[in-house]
């Protein structure tokens, strides 16, 4: 009965591809033609894309679809335990893709979660693609919201749409995009559906075409809110350019060991400088164009 509902959001490129000569169908095909999988290309790249997500959401399948690599994909948590890297070229830009270990959260401390979090925080990716399981959105959104606290340059890859359909679940991707304030690309990576749309979204965010605005701001108890504000202010004074000072402040309040380490050894300062220099570049680019 879900098939009868003409919800535009549940249109993955599955339907676009089978729609035949439709104008959007051909544009999707053109976009696929624009994708050049570079495998383990280690040359110069224009943008760094981090791939995050809960375990078992098809993250590695998305990675393989983008890079043409064949990292083994298993239907159980923990298949990717270390960072895998690959590359692709899309519309003239080279993208380096970093596949992070699947995690439920960035807040606990385990080896794989640390890897993911450290990269998001200190690796400073241009775009973070969060792969989510459309059949279990609620639980997956927890990680999306956590990542949105660190960076707003996020694209949500709403994967396993085919599975959702099989289970009678419909996800309003457009509404989800509005709620989160970032692009949402519905897809079925195993079938190769929705990849072109994902690539477009990533390109837009990477080039700053769509200014993603994370709309969800975590509501905290007033006392916590005040403490975070105070500490964040200090952090910005100490590490100018730090983009996610509130997030770092909250971690410090919680006594998070690895964040404390980053403050102590100056890693945090480096991130701040990177952000600052990127902003300078962007400003310079706008001035010349």
């Amino acid at each position: 009965m879900n098939a009868d509902l003409p919800l535009p959001v549940s249109r993955t490129s599955a339907e676009l591809d089978t729609s035949g000569g439709g104008s959007c169908g051909s544009c999707a095909l053109n976009n696929v033609a624009n994708l050049e999988k570079l495998g383990l290309h280690s040359g110069r790249h224009d943008f760094v894309v981090a791939l995050a997500g809960n375990p078992n959401t098809g993250k590695s399948t998305v990675f393989n679809a983008l890079t043409g690599l064949r990292q083994h994909v298993g239907n159980w948590p923990g298949t990717t335990v270390s960072r895998a890297e690959g590359a692709y070229r899309h519309q003239g830009h080279a993208y380096q893709v970093v596949d992070l270990p699947g995690t439920y959260s960035l807040l606990s401390t385990s080896n794989d979660e640390d890897t993911a979090r450290d990269f998001l925080l200190f690796g400073d990716p241009d775009v973070t693609v969060v792969v989510v399981d459309a059949t279990r959105l609620e639980r997956n959104l927890n990680l999306v919201l956590q990542i949105l606290q660190i960076t707003d340059r996020v694209v949500v890859a709403l994967n396993l749409m085919d599975e959702a359909q099989r289970h009678g679940i419909t996800v309003d991707a457009r509404h989800l995009a509005r709620e989160l304030g970032v692009p949402v690309a519905p897809m079925s990576a195993r079938r190769g559906h929705g990849i072109p749309e994902l690539l477009d979204s990533v390109a837009q965010v990477a080039r700053g075409g769509t200014a993603p605005r994370a709309r969800v701001r975590q509501r905290l108890a007033p006392a916590v809110e005040r403490a975070v504000d105070a500490l964040a202010e200090q952090l910005v004074a100490e590490f100018p350019g730090l983009a996610n000072s509130r997030w770092v402040a909250l971690r410090l309040l919680e006594g998070d060991v690895s964040t404390e380490r980053a403050v102590r050894d100056g890693t945090l300062g480096d991130v701040g400088r990177q952000h600052a220099s990127r902003r300078d570049l962007v400003t310079a680019g706008q001035a010349t164009s």
Binding site: N75, T135, I169, E179, R219, A223, L252, L253, V263
Partner: protein
């Protein structure tokens, strides 16, 4: 204001907050997630599980059927591999070793290449490589796709779920069974996979015991021994089943060894509490059969095969040199085998097997070809083969060679299977353990403990068998 100032301020502010404020932080995120999900997702019956999943889980984690299915599936995978690989292996052997070798040899002789060069390249490097392809490609091309199908289907976490209590009893982490399953492909991968275990203590246990998950380099040894020595004990009609059964028994012994060693470690050098863990049982997903076969063939099979080839080519050369460089009237190989023979006898093995294991430290894959070659050139019955030629023979003939020239008995075969399951990890795995632990002590433990265990077990079995008059 300095970095330490920030940290001091953080702890001062923390002291002013209620102790459970972090709960609120987590809860508010989930509240948001819940709110957004409710506005975005529509489902017929959102909490209801698909009926098929429920039925499958009821069967696959059933008190009785769960274990029956588990045994049947793993037995089926091995049996299918053994039975299915026989014909293509034979074909590849005839093509690459029989015809290919003599053709290449003829080519070298015709062009007037010096004898040592022909020997080194054709009889050493080429034959070693051809052997590995003929023997390893067919079983791997069957085993990996089958295993991957089970994996993609979502079955493996159910195995971990069924067996968890056993792991808990041995003081191991529940996810250790998952890292073991990675180990069935490759121990180096299994060791890396232990990163999913948070507690350092339990992770070390998983690293040290991963070796007892039989990796793909060792399956061919077990399968060959099972086929020519164990399978031949019963009428031909049952031979395949019994051979597969013997391989499964060794694999199960590997699991038992893992549990016993884990238990021992968690009660001695790695004492501590069992940590919190949770295991997600993902929904079953219909595996995409053709895609799985394609990717696992390309990815796992060829990757493993390439590694085997990279190892086999130089090993072929080394073996040829060992057999053809003469010192004091006998080849280097003869000297080494003679020196190792007493130890080999004590273990119910022989000098050739031990030398093969030394040559095979970089890769277990080349154990059998090395044994065959050395047995044919150094054995008591000469088969008229040129020295240092790495050979493969159809299974029946291989058995004849090992029995007649090598003096092998059932004890040799059984102990070789056990030694193969227990002995030290290959050099790649040892290197991975070092990278993961950064500890010389634990790397040494993970290397030497299995070796000591292999010596002890095979030694005891040999002694008992001889005392009882079985061998």
């Amino acid at each position: 204001m300095s970095a330490t100032g920030v940290l001091e301020n953080a702890s001062r502010l923390r002291a002013e907050l209620p102790p459970d404020f972090t709960d609120g932080v987590v809860a508010s995120l989930f509240d948001d997630a819940d709110r957004i999900a409710r506005r975005t997702v529509t489902a017929d019956s959102r909490r209801a599980r698909p009926a098929l999943d429920q039925v499958l889980d009821r069967a696959l984690t059933h008190r009785v059927w769960g274990f029956v299915v588990m045994g049947a599936l793993f037995f089926g995978v091995f049996w299918f591999t053994i039975a299915g690989a026989a014909v293509p292996s034979d074909l590849l052997y005839r093509l690459l070793v029989d015809s290919g070798h003599s053709w290449l040899r003829g080519l070298f002789v015709d062009t007037g290449a010096p004898g040592w060069l022909t020997g080194l390249l054709v009889d050493g490097v080429y034959l070693g490589t051809a052997w590995v392809v003929a023997v390893m490609l067919p079983p791997m091309a069957i085993f990996f796709p089958l295993f991957t199908l089970l994996e993609d289907f979502g079955y493996l976490p159910r195995v971990a779920f069924n067996l968890d209590r056993v792991f808990a009893r041995s003081g191991a982490h529940g996810k250790q069974s998952l890292t073991m399953m990675m180990g069935y492909g490759c121990n180096a991968a299994g060791v890396t996979a232990t990163r999913i275990i948070d507690s350092p203590r339990e992770r070390l246990i998983a690293i040290i015991t991963n070796n007892f998950s039989i990796c793909n380099g060792r399956w061919p040894t077990l399968i060959l021994m099972g086929t020519i020595f164990i399978g031949s004990l019963v009428p031909p009609a049952l031979a395949g089943l019994v051979a597969a059964g013997s391989v499964v028994v060794v694999a199960v012994l590997g699991i038992i060894t893992t549990l016993v060693v884990s238990w021992g470690l968690s009660r001695t050098v790695l004492r501590g509490e069992t940590s919190v863990y949770s295991l997600e049982l993902p929904p079953y997903r219909p595996p995409q059969v053709w895609r799985t076969i394609y990717t696992s063939l390309i990815d796992r099979t060829f990757k493993v095969l390439r590694r085997a080839l990279v190892m086999a080519a130089p090993a072929g050369a080394v073996i040829w040199l060992l057999s053809n460089v003469n010192v004091g009237g006998a080849s280097l190989a003869a000297h080494l085998v003679g020196g190792l023979a007493p130890v080999g006898w004590l273990l119910g093995l022989n000098g050739i097997i031990l030398l093969a294991y030394v040559v095979a430290i970089p890769a277990n894959e080349i154990v059998i070809p090395t044994i065959m070659m050395l047995t044919m050139t150094l054995g008591s019955v000469q088969f008229g083969v040129q020295g240092g030629v790495m050979v493969n023979l159809p299974d029946a003939q291989a058995g004849t060679v090992l029995v007649q020239a090598g003096g092998w008995t059932l004890l040799t075969a059984v102990n070789l299977m056990l030694f193969s399951m227990l002995h030290n990890p290959c050099s790649t795995t040892v290197l991975t353990i070092w990278k993961e632990t950064r500890s010389l002590r634990w790397t040494a433990t993970a290397t030497l403990l299995p070796l000591a265990l292999a010596f002890a077990v095979t030694g005891v079995i040999a002694a008992v068998a001889r005392l009882a008059g079985w061998a």
